[in-house]
Symmetry: C2
Subunit: 367 residues, 2 copies
């Protein structure tokens, strides 16, 4: 993806672009990125793509833990990282401002890999993933596709729970008695949906998150049975898991990895199923890994790592389920909207300090 | 399991028993075990079990890496460990020397959890698993059920390859092009069968083992495509894997864990399947674990830990396949028979230094 198209008509410098300048060393710092002002891209009539590509103005960006992974192109990852000098990748909602494409007219709100910038050249069905549902229904939030209705958040939670863990049916390798599902990052955007989906299957749900407020949110608002504060000095995660799941854990939805995952492995019931969609504790360059890896053998655990983009064919099924639950008031979802493209670094770091409360979004421009 | 039954008739002291005295601290040392002389167990006519239990004289014991796990009853494991003071657990072949059970007469050769001792009280279909095939066919080796025909060795390899990795069909998550299966412990008892079974499916097989001799054995005798010596100073495992599997590994049969597994994870193709039946590098009390655990997410890897005793219903299918391959000369299997119950400690340690050449067995008594 390149946002460097310059045409004869694009001379006005109004496109703010957050470009990656260096690979972060641990925490992301301001100097790892640079906010530049560049010409707004345009598509001239004589451009070979003039009837296909469109120009999109970003309104809202989804800020996700994977941004930290993307910032290190040299590291093994599930898709190409962002090269030094390129605009920081992000999934965004935006509005088409220039188009000769009759299927994608000016004014259409779209979801795509827009990046942290004001304007980008969108390629329908390539970098533009889909049209927003709010185009045809004013009652639908313009951020729906970045939150529980999106492939990054909603589909990830839905696939992990319904296709991998399958609580309440074959969850726990055929041992469906007193199933206990644990969600790490249980108050987060993906985790909070995964926990609530598991709850609808009638199993016990334990959420793990950092801080008293998030723990209260999990038990009082999301309806989890138990909450464990991984930052607490009063107990260990493993002791609490032993207390809440004395017969062992049957399903584990993992967003974080590291010591939290070690504690879950130490308390696994035989044949525990584990879905890994994130590993936020391991996104720095120093990897800690898992010390008790051999519990996978001892407890005959099955593990599936997965990435939402592999399962886009399930998106409509996932949405159907999630919209229905939301309509019935059985799905609570919070958004945490921050403002200003210039604040990108501070905002993305909230994910790693646990400072956000709900799905983190960055408002770049007005609707 | 107890071997402590004393009856009025068992006064002769001729039963040598290797009893666990302390949990090994790292390497197993002589003083962790004690060879005692005890009364030979017997079953008196008025014993309530006299028509059911039998007395078995052990002839050969299977020496397996799991012995080290069993020696630490306090550690999480897949079955109860051996308590301090108890006879060391081992699967053995033995011959029934006393019986009032018409289905299990004196002279029958049996496979069971006999332990490292001369005689034990066997409970048919509980501690005695089955009758040896050599009872009815003189051409069959009396050690068959401890080697490629047994549930610990043959079934483990067969289940891991045929039920989990499934090379040549859905192996590699649907990506069946140029499949590459890696076997750690590839010259060992289980690994050598797993590698040969994978070879029959037409995929590329890379074996990892320690030392030049084992590497030659894998390529020249077992028919592997490539061998990697994990003890070599001339290259790293990861560099060699990159060279032999430039498009990534699609299936991994893991016997060892630790740094070998890290190297395989670093070279996984998307959707790699991984079967874990052993973790021999982690059987000491200090666990090293896996640093690049997050490759499971990045490469969308699926992992299944498994233990042979969960899959005894597949034993006859596994044997059918393995016997046929052996008959056709397509399955090579080596045994390494050591002698003398008093040498148990030195013999079991061969597994951890890589000193054995083939399935390790300990002869306790003559047939």
């Amino acid at each position: 993806m390149t946002n460097n198209i310059n045409t004869a008509t694009s001379t006005s410098i109004k496109n703010r672009c957050m470009r990656l300048r260096s690979v972060p060393n641990g925490k992301i710092v301001k100097s790892d990125l640079e906010l530049t002002e560049e010409p707004i891209p345009s598509i001239a009539a004589d451009d070979e793509n003039s009837g296909y590509h469109v120009i999109v103005k970003n309104t809202m960006a989804s800020i996700d833990p994977t941004h930290r992974i993307w910032m290190n192109a040299k590291k093994d990852q599930y898709m190409d990282g962002v090269a030094l000098g390129d605009i920081m990748r992000a999934i965004t909602v935006g509005i088409i401002t220039e188009s000769r494409n009759i299927d994608w007219p000016v004014g259409t709100k779209v979801v795509g890999f827009g990046g942290i910038c004001d304007y980008y050249v969108g390629i329908p069905e390539v970098t533009i993933v889909e049209k927003c549902a709010c185009n045809t229904n004013n009652e639908i939030s313009p951020t729906l596709e970045l939150s529980y209705g999106g492939f990054v958040i909603g589909l990830t939670a839905w696939h992990g729970v319904n296709k991998i863990l399958q609580p309440g049916s074959s969850g726990g390798g055929g041992d469906s008695n007193n199933e206990v599902v644990v969600i790490s990052g249980g108050a987060g955007a993906v985790g909070s949906i995964a926990g609530q989906l598991s709850k609808t299957k009638g199993v016990t749900v334990i959420g793990i998150a950092g801080g008293k407020e998030k723990c209260l949110f999990m038990t009082e608002t999301l309806g989890y049975d138990y909450a464990i504060d991984y930052k607490s000095d009063e107990y260990t995660i493993s002791d609490k898991l032993k207390e809440y799941a004395p017969d062992g854990i049957t399903g584990y939805f993992d967003n974080v990895g590291g010591t939290v995952t070690e504690a879950v492995l130490a308390n696994a019931r035989n044949y525990m199923k584990m879905a890994i969609c994130g590993s936020i504790s391991e996104y720095d360059d120093e990897w800690q890994g898992i010390k008790n890896f051999n519990m996978i053998l001892m407890r005959r655990i099955s593990i599936q790592g997965f990435v939402c983009t592999d399962h886009l064919d399930e998106l409509s099924d996932a949405r159907k389920d999630l919209y229905q639950l939301k309509k019935e008031g059985r799905l609570i979802f919070r958004e945490d909207i921050r403002e200003g493209i210039e604040n990108y670094t501070e905002v993305v770091n909230l994910l790693f300090t646990g400072g956000n409360k709900g799905k983190l979004l960055l408002k770049i421009n007005e609707q």
